[in-house]
């Protein structure tokens, strides 16, 4: 019987390097430019082939089997089934408004917004499904038999309810949606399961939620103090300097401080949801700390700035490497039992997701 005990070592590994990746990413950029962006579907595919094939799970590499053509077809389908109807509705709404039926026109204008809300959820689901169904490990793939249409409704009402109690139920809606989405996916013969608990991320969320309020109160006190201190040091002029100093400090806090707290929340969120995810007797873990995330994001910014923007082609590489190196798994896999997935595979790619420009996770 073949059995892999993978507790000894890290189950995931990545052995790509950015120089090899550049040989893929830079020609991709050139071809994307000269084709007015059309090549980007094939570019994405080539990038993923590289990233997947340099990612090891236990003792075998992953393989990406998606094609550029199916991504392109997915994009065209979205254009045909979504963008053109939306354009038509907008046209009719405008014509109605110009004829004096403002209310009807406005109501019609809301329709595409609702549709986009719904389809965002569907797109997230289908993107994950697509990616799993195009991933091979030892010749085995993943997928889902669910079309994601029900998930789109869940996404709408859970997100809406999450915001209702002044946004305090957002951690619940986020974890609940993760659990719902993951539990409908499978790899080989087994389903994934997830039982992430919003209680575990609520403290971090509260930090993010309350800090602007606390800071606002603090700011008034600090502003008064700063002004007084300035006044004490240099009279009227000093007061102005004090106020300006405090204002700059507040702006810095608002962008950097709040950003940091948001990162802290997301770091905790991903540790919780990935840590609550199982696949048969395998449990996963994601060990990136807030500091790791901060380093990743600062690195991203520096690379893009110092290459005058060209470095953005390396971001997908960095993000993938970040994800794989922090991903852990433990438990047993019975390879004898691990047979091919029987889930249906979508014939076209992640068109919706591509159109809305959102990630699978």
């Amino acid at each position: 019987m073949y059995q892999e005990d993978i507790q000894a070592d890290s189950a995931f590994g990545f052995d790509g390097n950015w120089k090899d990746f550049a040989k893929i990413a830079l020609p991709n950029l050139l071809l994307t430019l000269v084709t007015l962006g059309i090549y980007r579907f094939w570019a994405t595919t080539r990038e993923r082939q590289y990233l997947w094939s340099h990612t090891r799970f236990v003792d075998e590499r992953l393989e990406w089997t998606g094609t550029g053509k199916e991504l392109f077809v997915g994009f065209l389908l979205v254009m045909l089934l979504f963008a053109i109807p939306v354009f038509g509705i907008q046209f009719v709404a405008q014509a109605l408004i110009l004829r004096g039926y403002e209310a009807a026109g406005a109501a019609l204008g809301i329709l595409p917004i609702l549709a986009i809300f719904y389809l965002t959820g569907v797109a997230r689901f289908r993107a994950l499904r697509y990616r799993l169904s195009r991933t091979r490990w030892r010749g085995i793939r993943g997928g889902s038999d669910d079309q994601g249409l029900g998930y789109g409704l869940s996404y709408m009402w859970k997100t809406f309810v999450g915001y209702l109690p002044l946004g305090l139920a957002i951690p619940w809606s986020m974890t609940s949606l993760w659990n719902e989405r993951i539990s409908k996916m499978s790899f080989g013969p087994y389903r994934f399961e997830s039982d992430a608990d919003p209680a575990n991320v609520f403290a971090r969320f509260l930090l993010f939620y309350l800090s602007p309020i606390i800071f606002f109160i603090g700011a008034i006190i600090a502003g008064a103090t700063g002004a007084l201190a300035g006044y004490g040091l240099g009279g009227e002029e000093g007061m102005q300097v004090g106020i300006i100093g405090i204002t700059i400090f507040l702006l810095l806090f608002f962008y950097i401080g709040l950003g940091l707290i948001a990162v802290a929340f997301y770091a905790k969120f991903y540790r919780e949801v990935v840590g609550s995810t199982h696949w048969k007797d395998l449990h996963f873990g994601f060990e990136a700390s807030t500091m790791d995330w901060v380093k990743l994001l600062i690195g991203d910014a520096l690379i893009v700035v110092f290459t005058l923007g060209l470095g953005f082609v390396f971001l997908s590489y960095r993000h993938w490497k970040f994800m794989v190196t922090h991903l852990e798994a433990g438990g047993d896999i019975l390879l004898d039992e691990l047979t091919q997935s029987t889930t249906a595979t979508a014939r076209h790619g992640e068109g919706l997701l591509d159109a809305f420009d959102i990630g699978a996770f």
Partner: protein, 361 residues
Amino acid sequence: MEDVFHQPAVWYDGESAIRHEGEAHWDGSDTLSLRGFSGSMEVDFADLVYGEERGGELVYRRSSVPDFRLILPEDLPAGLAAKLPAKAIYGAWIDRMGLGKAAVILGAASVAAVALFMTAPEWLGPRVPESWERNLGQAMVGDMGGRLCHTPAGDAALAKLLAKVDPAEEKVRAGVANIGMVNAVALPGGQVMLFDGLVQDAETPEELAGVLGHEVGHVRERHVMTALLRQFGLSILLSGANSGMSETLFGLAAMGYSRDAEREADEFARKRMAESDVSPLGAASFFERIGGDAEEDKGGEANAVIGWVSSHPDPRERAKAYRAAAKGKTFGPVLTEAEFQAIKTMCEEDPDVEEFDFGFF
């Protein structure tokens, strides 16, 4: 006897995750035999498909069993390598052509496509049948929902004015819109609107004739369709769908014609006025007035005037051209004083006219 190649090989059957390790034997025939402890099998070369290259190994798939994987070392004997399917890098014909050549050809095609797209309004606009434009205009703006001013005397006077500058059998539709701005627009579908603000600003009926003739010129020279196509192209590029009455109307008003188009419309107006014995001096003094306003005045109504003027050629240049057209000629009045007053009071005396509610959205 022929050489028999032995190569270390790893394969997955696509049904289970069990790894088969052994050797690939090739005796020069059309099949490759895979022999290992956990099983043996024969694979036709014709059935093999190139998958990818990964860390010193080549991955092949089978077209009959899509999830079958054969992994061979990269440095194969030349004879065997020639028998296996060729590597693909960028996909299909880009590989055959070479990256440099493909990039140049694709780049040239893209430049041509962009040039075609950019110039399309200029050559396509005049070729769109007028009946299509009328239908399109009908769909877009309809009858403006009762916002045009109507009185029997005013309508008659306007029709008389229109007949002077638009001698064609099928007239454009002209109306006075209940808007206080000093402006006039030509809408898709052969509809010309003078804003009430401009009507109130006019000191002689000849001024109105000049402006009306100019807008009719835009319709007759097919500038509206050209501008509409340009706007449509821009909205595709920016994917910007605007909504609401005011944006639509200002969008149409601000569609903007090229300076050549403005000159053409002016020439059209002067020709028609000369044919109908209407003095171009009214138009000249109108342009002189707004030209002066644009320089001196900064407040209130002047802004609206600047808005109209800014997209047009220098008003003083235009005034000169109109004055030159009047040289050595004498003209009768285009409308009687009573008719002129009927147009001026159209909006005031129309009990049913609706307000343009720009604040709705």
